[in-house]
Symmetry: C3
Subunit: 105 residues, 3 copies
Amino acid sequence: MTECILGYITTPNIEEAKQIAKELLLDKLIACANIYPKVYSLFWWKGEIDKSEETILIVKSKRNLKQKIVEKVCSMHSYECPCIIFLPIEDGAKPFLDWIISEVN
Amino acid sequence: MTECILGYITTPNIEEAKQIAKELLLDKLIACANIYPKVYSLFWWKGEIDKSEETILIVKSKRNLKQKIVEKVCSMHSYECPCIIFLPIEDGAKPFLDWIISEVN
Amino acid sequence: MTECILGYITTPNIEEAKQIAKELLLDKLIACANIYPKVYSLFWWKGEIDKSEETILIVKSKRNLKQKIVEKVCSMHSYECPCIIFLPIEDGAKPFLDWIISEVN
């Protein structure tokens, strides 16, 4: 396993995804972000199946910054309870993993 | 590591992805789904490299529901051997993880 | 945990993603690939926040082929330091996992 993680964050639109990504980058909490412009989401919300178009923000960072990423995203996010989850990166091209570590706090 | 997992499922089109997502939600097997409308897939099939457009269905649920999710998806899916894989969610925003657990069986 | 992994690779465009996918398939280093045509990327590069449109190449393979995948991708990739990371597949539909293993070296 590496020191790095992949963050998976949903936002209502591209603008909010870009704003969040920029702030995370400026705070040196992530090394990079990939924004998937449009997904169709279905979900349980207050007892009903709801649906909406969303944007997915994938970020790459270090494991020990997870909590700070959650705090920063929640401070900016327009949702009450945003999807912010982290997947372990078990391995990868060493230069890229080293680059992630060199770019964040 | 959390009790939650991210499911990654391929389908031939958005309609089938939405149908599967709705059934999984109705059966309380997942809390939410993100559908990526169009990807280009390349794959080995019966000795040849084949290609097709597909739709990706990402679902979030609890680890102990994986087998039921596989059974439900296979019962509805138009493929002989659909891609249904699960990635571990190692961490995330606690309210969101709690919400996943509260929304599924 | 399974013997399989999900690879997450960024490329500048669909053509390069398709070329890399085909070579990985021909060398029996992956069983299949899903190409996400367009994402917006933001990242630190040489001290500045840079941005560009990219394509994401998701591949599915066996854990013991990771290093060969990295070598092959780096030999073809147009980036100096491409994002090539691997996420663990903890579980999935057994026929599909068996299929991955049967299709690669």
